[in-house]
């Protein structure tokens, strides 16, 4: 149902934030889903798990925080950052 549409929008927003080439490096995405948003958080998580298990993603996970309002937000995106790793080399 419409949780898949919402999940596809989450992926689109993630791409908008990190760029298409960085999508394979996304490790986690944080969402807020309100209990009055009309979206069933578990269904959304299921749809996202399905999408994130396939290219261009590489098994990224979602962290959903349930809220007591109508929020439906992508809060943050976490990705592997090789530049940070290089920066840590002594």
């Amino acid at each position: 149902m419409h949780e898949m549409s919402v999940a596809l929008e989450v992926c689109r927003l993630a791409e908008e934030q990190v760029g298409a080439e960085a999508l394979p490096r996304v490790t986690r995405m944080g969402l807020e889903v309100g209990n009055r948003s009309g979206v069933v958080a578990d269904n959304l998580a299921f749809c996202l798990d399905t999408l994130l298990a396939h290219p261009p993603f590489r098994a990224a996970r979602t962290v959903i925080r349930r809220t007591d309002d109508s929020a439906l937000r992508l809060e943050w995106v976490e990705l592997d950052d090789p530049e940070l790793e290089n920066a840590n080399i002594p």
């Binding site: 419409h2 549409s5 689109r12 937000r73 995106v77 592997d80 940070l84």
Partner: protein, 223 residues
């Protein structure tokens, strides 16, 4: 590998909402009123629209955008009464709602200079369509006396998001156990501000207030 966290904090439906605002702007600029009809399947939306087109289309030029998971059945029924029907068929059987991008595309097929009223006949579903702003002036939730008095309680978002409600098939009241005062009380408990029309689209009973409302909203009723 070290990770970097990017703060996003964006409404997931922001693209839809942005497109809906563009649609709203186009409609306002053209002086066109648009209503988004949402209901469960079988509430009588299409029959109501047929009656409305029959009564008003000569007086108030009307366009209809229809959404269905499959078939053009509704669009074909409505096309008997107007040539301004745009079927925005939702792809596939999993399609459960219309979105603003579909409405924007459908408007491209309508000469807005020639219409004053647009009805969006959404997919029969009281859950998902309530979520999506389509750029309409208002959502109208349609339910019928064959569906039970507790529809507003079961689907509060649809009734909360709507500004108007139509309780249809009231001609069947003598044959059912439907508790009309309880149904209205349930509507009010979810949304005290809803204006409720009671209609029987099949027989035409109760349609005059609905027609008067549409004339008023489109400026066709001169005091």
């Amino acid at each position: 590998m070290p990770v970097r966290t990017i703060e996003v904090k964006k409404n997931i439906l922001e693209r839809n909402d942005r497109l809906a605002e563009e649609v709203r702007g186009r409609l306002q600029e053209a002086g066109v009123t648009a209503f988004n009809l949402i209901s469960s399947p079988g509430s009588g939306k299409t029959t109501l629209l047929e009656r409305t087109l029959q009564e008003l289309d000569q007086e108030i030029p009307i366009a209809v955008i229809t959404g269905d998971p499959r078939t053009l059945n509704d669009a074909e029924r409505l096309a008997r009464w107007t040539n301004r029907v745009v079927p925005a068929v939702v792809a596939g059987e999993g399609g459960c709602h219309l979105d603003a991008a579909q409405i924007a595309a459908a408007l491209d097929a309508i000469d807005l200079g020639e219409v004053r009223l647009v009805f969006i006949e959404n997919v029969g579903n009281l859950v998902c369509p309530a979520e999506f702003d389509l750029g309409e002036e208002a959502k109208i939730v349609v339910f019928s006396v064959t569906e039970g008095e507790d529809k507003p309680l079961k689907y509060p978002l649809a009734f909360r998001e709507a500004r108007y409600a139509i309780l249809n098939k009231i001609d069947l009241l003598p044959h059912l156990d439907f508790d009309l005062p309880l149904a209205i009380a349930n509507v009010r408990s979810v949304n005290p501000d809803l204006t409720v029309f009671m209609t029987a689209a099949k027989t035409g009973d109760g349609l005059e207030p609905w027609f008067r409302f549409l004339r008023e909203r489109t400026g066709a009723l001169v005091a």
